[in-house]
């Protein structure tokens, strides 16, 4: 309780709330503008957070994150172009409803669903993360390394269409992090005799260069499109129908809760984010609806489901970050980087070791949902103004800001050169079809993985420790399946083996549970074996049916 009060004292100050409000408005705008991603907004917020305390900095970024998730609905509903991938499904019913002359209600439904979805996930974050984090107290260096190794294998899932390019991108990220003096012995690596390389690459310039700089270059590549306004709209004068919308959302509470749970669960899973959860929730709402044929024509449930789930995803991804210290997506990777800049290393023992900061994050997430609700109308007016700005004007100014922002990190001009170099690298990689998310994950997690490996080896050079410690076994097994996840996603529904993927994974994880002490976890292991065997039997039935159907069709 004392930690919660101390955290509340940190967050509920005028300064922090003002910073969070600014973050929420910036996030709402970034989310609303098609072409600007939430990750980019969070990345660009980073330079401002250096002069803040860790809790203030993270609170501001959470404001941007939650704002960004809610902002996407504005453009999706008003102009039919989702501001972010997390609002794609909102457009299916939000835009038709707006065209039917009910834009105020459509926006209201989106705003209030986002709010309730966020609050439900904030409650889950506060309830689940500390419980999950208790497991972290059992972790030893071998377990930590296995956990970070698992996080690195997420790159396979983030790879998108081309698995090998994603893996190369992840490995390049790890490599970037090894350049310069290492933390453990102070030995310089890959410096080729250059003082610049000996210093190593700071995280922030690499991140802004790879992500923001290269994306802006992509936005202005086409000269004609660069000279257009951001969105071709006329004047918009709409009032959000708050009261009516809130009543409708609460009356559809089953859809709201179901969609929020889908969002939270998707957020907890590494590499699955709000871009997936909003579509999943929409699909489930349609299946559960007595009138599924109305979906896509401007139905209320079609707006509630995706908006509740995409905001709930934020709480889910924060659970993974807070409880296990691993980023599930690019936004939490950036937040993890921000914590590292403030000398806070998130790990499974993070909540126990830095409880005030951890609870500050919980409270900030809770507050952010209220702030976003409050500022939505303000952001709507600003959004209309920003849409009139031409893309090249925005890009030119942001490029200059990127340079000044990265300089602020260490007050050295070399960081600005790093920004330019990685801007070029990022742009080239984008154009060559290499995804950047795995690379960023590699840059963030590489040094952490090496540190834990060094600690593990310093304690004992016996490598069998990796297969005798239950949590290490658990995460290494999970890593094997995570590496195959990209192929599994690609071949699901096309080949027979993906039917067996999940049951085999559950069965493979069970031995690690049996290795753990006490009765509960081995008991869970027994349940996993029983469930896995049943799922294997069901998978076999489906596989046989699939093969027969395939034969008949040929």
């Amino acid at each position: 309780m004392e930690h919660i009060l101390a955290a509340l004292a940190e967050i509920a100050t005028v300064n922090t709330l003002l910073l969070m409000s600014a973050g929420a408005i910036a996030g709402l705008l970034a989310g609303a503008i098609p072409g600007f991603t939430i990750a980019m907004a969070v990345v660009l917020t980073l330079p401002f957070t250096f002069s803040m305390t860790a809790s203030q900095g993270i609170a501001t970024m959470i404001g941007v994150f939650v704002g960004g998730l809610s902002g996407g609905l504005m453009s999706g509903i008003l102009i039919g172009i989702p501001g972010t991938p997390s609002s794609v499904a909102t457009t299916f019913d939000g835009f038709p409803m707006a065209r039917q002359g009910r834009p105020g209600l459509a926006l209201g439904l989106g705003v209030w669903s986002s709010f309730f979805g966020g609050i439900i996930s904030a409650i889950c974050l506060i309830a689940i993360a500390p419980q999950l984090a208790r497991i972290g107290l059992e972790f030893q260096p071998w377990d930590y390394f296995a956990l970070v190794f698992f996080a690195l294998t997420i790159t396979a899932s983030l790879a998108g269409k081309n698995l090998i390019k994603g893996l190369i991108s992840g490995a390049l990220g790890l490599l970037i992090a090894t350049v310069g003096e290492e933390d453990i012995n102070g030995v310089s690596r890959f410096d080729f005799g250059s003082d610049y390389l000996q210093e190593g690459f700071a995280f922030l310039p690499v991140l802004i260069g790879l992500f923001a700089f290269s994306q802006l270059m992509g936005d202005i590549r086409n000269p004609a499109e660069a000279r257009r306004s951001l969105v071709q709209t006329g004047d918009i004068d709409i009032r959000i129908e708050h009261m009516k919308a809130a009543k409708i959302v609460l009356s559809r509470w089953t859809n709201l809760v179901r969609s929020s749970i889908i969002g939270i669960f998707t957020g907890i899973l590494p590499a699955a984010g709000s871009s997936i959860s909003n579509i999943l929730a929409y699909d489930q709402a349609k299946k559960a609806s007595p009138t599924p044929e109305k979906f896509g024509t401007g139905t209320e449930d079609g707006i509630i489901a995706p908006e509740a789930s995409n905001n709930a995803t934020a709480g889910g991804s924060l659970i993974t970050m807070m409880a296990l210290g691993i980023p599930g997506d690019i936004v939490t990777a950036v937040m993890l980087g921000a914590l590292l800049i403030h000398d806070v290393v998130p790990s499974p023992s993070f909540i126990t070791e830095a409880p005030v900061l951890a609870y500050s994050i919980f409270i900030a997430f809770f507050f952010a949902n209220f702030l976003v609700l409050f500022f939505q109308s303000v952001a709507l007016k600003l959004f209309v103004l920003v849409t009139k700005v031409k893309m090249y004007v925005l890009a030119g100014i942001i490029l200059a800001y990127c340079g000044i922002g990265v300089f602020a990190l260490n007050n050295i001009v070399n960081d600005m050169w790093t920004l330019l170099i990685f801007g070029v690298v990022g742009y080239a990689m984008r154009n060559l079809g290499f995804p950047l998310a795995p690379m960023i994950l590699g840059v963030v997690l590489g040094p952490i993985a090496e540190r834990w490996l060094a600690r593990a080896v310093a304690l004992s050079t016996d490598m069998t420790n990796f297969i005798t410690h239950p949590w290490s076994v658990f995460f290494l097994t999970l890593s094997l399946f995570s590496m195959g996840f990209g192929v599994y996603q690609r071949e699901r529904g096309k080949k027979v083996w993906p039917f067996y993927y999940t049951p085999v994974m559950v069965l493979a994880l069970a031995p690690a549970m049996f290795m753990m002490e006490g009765f509960i976890r081995p008991g869970i292991g027994i349940v996993m074996v029983a469930g896995g065997l049943y799922a294997l039997y069901r998978a076999h039935q489906k596989a046989v049916y699939f093969k027969t159907a395939a034969k008949e069709s040929t």
Partner: protein
């Protein structure tokens, strides 16, 4: 003989890069203390990267038509490349000049010139555009400079010409 596709060329470059890094990793100083050598982790990564690059190379030979940019309307040859990427190339070049002249021009003057040059190259240079871009550049950089210098207490690079940070 068929010409090498883009993926194959990149895979070859990556393999050469891996070779360079593997050679460099052999020259990492070993301090004689600590159990995990400073070269171990980089060598693991280089080995993994080499493996992935080799797979990419083999894939690129097996599927020669997987270039991602097909159908993007780009004209063939180097001239087509320059035309297609004109804006990014110019922007990167302007940014390079900005950084190279930063010790001389400083963050404020250099920044204003950077924004002005970027906007003019990207948005056009009619007299009206030039005035508008000059206003945008001065106001935006002036705001950023003030915010970072006085708000965030960051000592931005000072220029030699006017000794203005």
């Amino acid at each position: 003989m068929r010409a090498l596709n883009k993926d194959t060329i990149i895979a070859i470059l990556l393999l050469l890069f891996c070779g360079l890094l593997a050679w460099s990793s052999l020259h990492i100083r070993l301090p004689g203390y600590g159990t995990l050598k400073p070269s171990t982790w980089p060598q693991i990564i280089v080995a993994v990267l080499t493996l992935f690059s080799a797979i990419y190379f083999v894939q690129s030979l097996s599927y020669p038509g997987t270039d991602d940019d097909k159908g993007d309307g780009r004209k063939p040859g180097f001239a087509g490349f320059l035309e297609y990427f004109r804006n990014p190339i110019i922007c990167f070049s302007i940014y390079f000049v900005f950084l190279a002249t930063l010790p001389w021009a400083g963050a404020l003057i250099g920044g204003i010139l950077l924004v002005f040059a970027l906007l003019t190259v990207l948005g056009g240079w009619t007299p009206r555009d030039l005035v508008r871009h000059a206003i945008y550049a001065t106001v935006s950089m002036g705001f950023m400079w003030t915010l970072f210098t006085f708000g965030l207490r960051v000592i931005l690079p000072e220029g030699e010409i006017f000794s203005i940070r």
